[in-house]
């Protein structure tokens, strides 16, 4: 049984149609999420495309189309985490690459930032991944608390505490640095 047959049985549109529509509607927002998490547009685009390929492969397994966006968001977050872990492993393996990696990720996007934005972004990068994810999803992309919780695989309460702690930490870091 192919993907589309399975999808039709589940009441979903064909995989290529459904995934393409979803990609067109949400890819830009998800790439922005990736850019903030990774500091690198190319890597962010790769992560988002991988997430939608994964969604395409698993389309027939979705029980409800509403879950498709949540699946894509969660996959993007997973992809970002994997990319960050790979980056850390690479840096540990080759200490000389640390400076190169830091430079590489800053060239395209960060160099264009003002001093103020660069300072905030540096503080943002120092946050634990989960706090940063919660902040981006809730405060920047305007994703609901419930959907943020689903995408991150945590409870609504943890979304709240993570955003609250993130803002408190940012406030402290920015105050310390000013």
């Amino acid at each position: 049984m192919d993907i589309d047959t399975r999808a039709r049985r589940a009441g979903l549109p064909d995989a290529s149609v459904g995934v393409t529509e979803l990609y067109q509607a949400h890819a830009v927002g998800l790439i922005k999420l990736g850019v903030i998490m990774l500091g690198d547009r190319t890597a962010a685009e790769d992560v988002v495309q991988d997430a939608f390929f994964g969604l395409y492969r698993n389309w027939g397994r979705l029980s409800d189309p509403v879950n498709a966006l949540a699946y894509a968001r969660a996959s993007v977050l997973n992809g970002c985490r994997a990319a960050l872990r790979q980056r850390i492993r690479r840096e540990r393996r080759d200490l000389s690459a640390v400076a190169d990696a830091a430079t590489a990720e800053s060239v395209e996007s960060i160099v264009l930032l003002s001093e103020e934005h660069r300072e905030v972004f540096a503080a943002l990068r120092r946050l634990p991944d989960r706090q940063r994810e919660a902040l981006v999803l809730r405060f920047y992309l305007g994703v609901s608390e419930e959907e943020t919780a689903r995408a991150m695989g945590i409870s609504r309460g943890t979304v709240k505490s993570s955003t609250s702690r993130a803002l408190a930490a940012l406030g402290r870091m920015l105050k310390e640095e000013s």
Partner: protein, 464 residues
């Protein structure tokens, strides 16, 4: 909105300003449905014997009878939490559980079924591993007081606890056989009913004697207008529902505060007080209290089914520090962990990690010279009087958000706490046994799991 939020949003706008389009998504043509080979194991053709429906309850009952016999020794100690002494390399005898259970992969990996690992508390060495039943992935673990009996729950793919939200759970009794380096894990399917699809697990807790399983649930839904929380107690031996209490419809009436840190099912959302009561924390039900100050409620499980709140009674209001790490209060539990309930084995105290300005005589941990002294510690608060019953930790010059402490195990009296303490980014954290001013380091559980560093999700990923 605060200035920090405004500045953050502006910076995010600035770094993503050039992202106004996405590259094309070249999808391959539809492929024949081909599940990944790793998820399907080859089985010899031929008829399958259907042992499962009647063998599982029998096996579970046999296992529970064995468990009841083995737990006789545990009942001899208060609360059953004082276990076999282990000897540290330095020669000082310290009492803590020999083993703990944990997951065997990062929670976010959805390609491999999550198994379980039995590890030595003292050495951190993996003693035994246990793969989940075919097609399933473990997502929750909780332990009895004998250090040899656990209950685990599992869900279908996609694998990884990170993907477990809203999925049906099936339940397994996991036991430790043998001792020392010969300790091994065994698994028996429990007759406890599977949770329906669309259920969020708020709490799992195995009673100290291993005979009852408490499960807190809520609908996995965005619309919580009519949603109820439920707390159900099952018989481990028969799977029968012994009691069920619910909250009135609507999120505002919910009682249990916990949720899935890092995806694993919360095993500290409710806690047993002995073998006949359950404790959970509920926020701000006392007028004038901060929303971060939980009232610990205790529920006698002999109470009939009914309303969760009216069936339980508030015991003590737990003092908390301010969110964000402000340490201006005398001593308070870290509000980030206020949803997690840890009770001493003798059932007398609520235990937490936190900070404050307490002047208690404690060892010092210097962060920056010349700044104010604070306390980072584990504390107990009497469930009867609310008064502090013990305090174990450090006086430190560190302060701010980086100061963190949370506990994962406590003995009968609170004289020994296993927990994590973090003072500042520049100082290595401490994980181990904190006991009346002394500290005995232990290997950090799940060191390969990056998630443990993030907001303490270690809490739900280990079971002692």
């Amino acid at each position: 909105m605060s200035t920090v939020a405004d500045r953050t949003r502006a910076a995010m706008d600035a770094i993503t300003i050039q992202v106004d389009s996405a590259p094309p998504l070249p999808l391959p043509p539809p492929l024949a449905w081909a599940p990944r080979a790793s998820r399907r194991r080859w089985r010899a053709p031929g008829p399958r014997r259907r042992w499962g429906p009647w063998l599982a309850p029998l096996a579970a009952a046999a296992a529970v009878i064995a468990l009841a016999v083995s737990l006789v020794a545990v009942r001899g100690t208060p609360g059953g939490h004082e276990l076999v002494p282990a000897v540290s390399p330095a020669g000082a005898a310290v009492s803590f559980p020999d083993y703990y259970l944990t997951f065997n992969q990062p929670v976010s990996d959805e390609t491999i079924p999550v198994g379980l690992e039995l590890r030595s508390t003292l050495t951190g060495k993996t003693l035994s591993t246990l793969q989940p039943p075919r097609g399933l992935s473990f997502a929750g673990i909780t332990g009895a007081a004998d250090d040899r009996t656990f209950v685990a729950d599992a869900h279908r793919d996609p694998y990884g606890a990170f993907n477990s939200g809203g999925r049906s759970r099936t339940w397994y009794l996991v036991r430790v056989t043998g001792t020392g380096s010969h300790a091994r894990l065994t698994m028996t399917k429990l007759p406890v009913p599977a949770t329906p699809v669309g259920t969020e697990i708020l709490a799992i807790a195995l009673s100290p004697d291993g005979t009852k399983l408490a499960v807190g649930t809520a609908p996995w839904t965005a619309d919580t207008t009519n949603a109820k929380q439920a707390l159900t107690v099952y018989s481990v031996a028969t799977g029968a529902v012994l009691r069920t209490w619910t909250t009135p419809p609507g999120r505002a009436n919910w009682a249990i505060m916990s949720g899935g840190e890092g995806g694993a099912d919360p095993n500290t959302g409710v806690a047993w007080v002995g073998n006949h009561s359950l404790a959970f924390a509920r926020a701000a039900e006392i007028a004038g209290a901060s929303p971060y100050e939980p009232a610990v409620r205790v529920l006698d499980i002999s109470r009939p089914d009914g309303d969760l709140l009216s069936s339980s009674r508030p015991t003590t209001l737990v003092p908390t520090g301010e969110p964000g790490g402000d340490q201006s209060t005398p001593f308070g539990c870290d509000p980030s962990w206020r949803v997690n309930v840890l009770i001493t084995g003798d059932g007398t105290s609520f235990v937490c990690g936190g900070y404050g300005t307490s002047g208690a005589r404690l060892p010092q941990s210097l962060c920056k010279p010349g700044t104010a002294w604070n306390t980072v510690a584990f504390a107990g608060f009497s469930l009867t009087t609310g008064k502090e019953t013990f305090l174990s930790g450090y006086r430190t010059t560190c302060q701010g958000l980086a100061v963190v402490a949370y506990a994962v195990w406590v003995n009968a009296t609170g004289s020994k706490v296993i927990g994590w303490m973090h003072f500042a980014n520049s100082i290595p954290g401490k994980f181990g046994v904190f006991s009346n001013g002394s500290f005995r380091p232990l290997p950090i559980p799940v060191p390969g799991n990056w998630y443990q560093w993030d907001d303490g999700s270690l809490l739900y990923q280990v079971a002692w």
